[in-house]
Amino acid sequence: MERIFRVYRYQPGQEERGRYQEYRVEVGTSWTVLDALGYIKGELDGTLTYRRSCRHGICGSCAMTINGHNRLACETQVKDLKGDRIELEPLRSFRVIRDLVVDMGEFYDRYEAVKPFLMPRGAPPTDRERLQSPEDRRKLDGAYECILCGCCTSSCPSFWADRKFLGPAALLKAYRYVFDSRDQDMGERLKIVNDPHGLWRCHTIFNCAEACPKGLNPTRAIGALKREVVKRRI
C-alpha cells in the first residue's frame, strides 16, 4: 500500500521558515507512523529529524501532529489513517527546533512549577510501607499514568491564548499529588494552581482529553481541583 507522507521540515540556520516535503512510502501491513518515519530516515532522507524511543507508547518522545491530531507516532497505525496523504507536523504552540522536534522547555517548566513530588504527612514508618486503602489509591488512577508527551497542552486553546497558563499536563500532575492520601500539603499545591494563569484559565474545552494518547482526562481533574479550591476557600 503506497502512502504519501507530507512532512513539515525546518532546518535552523538554513532556512527562514518551515516548508513541507513529500515522501512516497510503500507501507507494510502493520506499520506505525514511527515505522514509516524510520523507513524515510533510513532509506530516503537521513536529514529528517524527530524524537523517538520506546516504540510502544510509554516514553512519550514521539508526540506530533498527525493529520491535524496530536498523537504518538509509535502507536498510530498507518492503516487507520484515512486518505492517501498523511500530514506530519511538530506539536503546535511549541518552538520548533528542527523538523518535528520541538522545544519542550516551557512545558517542563510548568510541570515543575506545581511541585510534582510527594510532600508527606510526618515521617514514614521505618520498617514498612505507609498504608493506603485501595479506594484512596484508586483516586490516582487516570492521573499517575501521564507520560509527559505534551499532546494535551499543545492542543489546548487556553494555552494558545495565554502562554503563561500552566496547561493540562501540569494541572493533571497537581491533581495526582493533591489527591494522594499520603500527601500533606494539599493547601500549598492548591495555592499554586489557583494562580491567575492556573486552574481558572481552563474553559472545559476538552481538547486535552481528546488528544491524550493514554486516554486520560485532564479537564475532569482540573474540575476536581477547582471544586477543592472552592471548598477550602483557598
Binding site: 515543575e112 511541585k115 510527594l118 520498617d127
Partner: protein, 578 residues
Amino acid sequence: MEYHRHEVVIVGAGIAGLSAALEVQGSADVAVLSKIFPTRSHSTAAQGGTAAALGNMEEDHWEWHWYDTVKGSDFLGDQDAQEVLCREAPEVIFALEHLGVPWSRTESGRIMQRPFGGHFSQFGKGSPVRRACMVADRNGHAILHCLYEQCLKRGVRFYSEFLVVTLMVREGRCHGVVAWDVARGDLHVFEAKAVMFGTGGYASAWQVNTNCLANTGDGLALVLEVGLPLEDMEFVQFHPTGIYPSGILVTEGARGEGGYLLNDRGERFMERYAPSKMEVAPRDIVSRAEQTEIDEGRGIGGKGYVHLDLRHLGKKLILEKLPQIHEMGVKFAGVDCTEAPLPILPTAHYAMGGIPTNVDGEVLADEKGTVVEGFFAAGECACVSVHGANRLGTNSTLECAVFGRRTGRRIRRYMEAGVEYRGVPEEEPERAQKKVADILEARGPERVSRLRAELKESMTKNMGVFRTGEGMREQVEKLRELRERYGRIGITDHQKVFNTELEEALELGHALAFCDVIVAGGLAREESRGAHARKDFPKRDDAKWLKHTLAWRSEDGSVRLGYKPVAITRFQPEERKY
C-alpha cells in the same frame, strides 16, 4: 568546547542513575547526563513488578527469593551479590513507597504483589509465591517518574539530550566524560571526581527486541574503548512474550496472573518442557520451548509465533491488573486480549552481562578485582553479577534500585574521604572531537541503516535463542565485514543542530564493538547455561565453565578473554529443573 566541573557525573537517568543521584545530592555537587529526557529512559517500559519478599500476600522469605535468583541464574550469579539483592529488596521497596510510588494496594492497604516466573516458596519446592510488587502493569513508569520528581525536589542538575561520546579513563583512574549536546550540536567536557554509568542494556542489537531505540549499549562500548573489560556478555535474555512481529514487550505478569501459552494444535506445550511450573518457568526455558514449537512447525498456522491466551482470566481482572497489555494488544496487534489470544514470539530483552562491578558499584579492571579509581556502574549496563546466565523477571528494576542506591552511597563515602579532581588529560578532548568529526564529515558509500539492519539480522540468526559454533563463527566473520564497511560510511546530514543521523552512526559503531565480545565469549563457552543455549553443547558443564567471562577488545576488533570464579556461598550447583 565548553568545560564543566561537577564532583559527580552520572550518565543515564533510569532507575539506577536516579537512585544513585538521590543518595549523592546534598553531600556533593552532582550532575546527571542523559541522551534523552529522563522520564523517557527505558526503565519506564518495565511493566510487571519489582521483586521483594514482603510477604504481603502469603508467607515469603528473602532467602527463598535468594535461592530462586541463584537457581534462575543457572548458578552463574555471584551468591554474595544475590544475597545483597534479595536481603535489601524489602527496605528498598519501602523506601520507594516513602518517596511516593503509587503501588497498587491490597484490601488492608499494603503493597500488592503478584506471581511471576521463577519465584516460588520453600526454596523452589513450593508453589508460586506472590513476590512482585506492582503498580498495575506500569511499574517502571511509576518508579521512574517518582524518582525523577524527587530529583527535582532536591535540585539535582540535569543535562538532557547530552550524548556521552567518550569516557576519560587513564591508568586505572577516571577523569570524567565528554558529551555531545544534541540540541545545540557541540561538545562538552565534564571533569568529575566520580563518574557513574547507568547507561542501560544492549538487546537492541537484535532484530526482534523489546528495547527502546535509545537503548544502544553506548556505555559498554565506551568502556571497551578505554581498555577495560566487560563480563559475561554472551548472556542475553530472550523474553518469551514479545508481540508479533515487532517484539515489543508483554509482561510476564500476564502469565503470572494465569495466562496460557498455546501452539497451533491448541496444546499448552509447556507441559512437555516444564511440567511442574508450566508457563511460570523462568524465561530462558519458556523461550526455548516456544522456539522449539515454532522451529518444529507448531507455530500458529506454521508461522513464527505462538499464542498467549488470557481470555479465561476474565475482562475485569485483565482491565484492572493488565490494562497496558490490553491497550497494547489493541494498538499493536489489533487484538482485544479479552476476546482473542495474542500472537507472541521470543524477543531479545535483557543483557545479563555488562561492566564488571563489586556490590558497591565500583568498576573492576581485571580478574583480580582491581578497582578503577573514581568509576562506578549500576543497573543493566553493569554485571555485579546478580543475574548470572539468566535473569528472573522483576529482578531488573530491583537491581537498579538496590545497586543504584548502594552505588550512590559508596560515591558519597568516596567524596567524604576527600578525593580531588584529577584534571583533564590533554589528548582527551581531541579524541572526542575526532570521534564526532569523523562521522559528521563522513561521505563514503555505506549507509548506517543498511549496516544496522544487517547487524540485527545476523545477530538474530547466529546469536539467537539457540546457538551453534558454526553460526557464531559465521557471526565473527560478519562482524569483521561490517566493521570494515563501517569505515566507509557516509551520512547525508552534516548540520550540527539535532543531528540524529550522527547519533545513529555513533550508536552503530558502539554496537559493532560490543557485539565482538558477545560473540567471542559465546563461541568460547562450550556449554549451555541459562540463556546461552548451544545445540552443539547442550549440557551445562560446571567442571569447565562455572566461571565468569571477562572480555577485552582492541581497536582492530580482536578480543582477549579471561575468566574469574563464581562466588558460591550457600547453594551448591544442582541440576536445574522446573
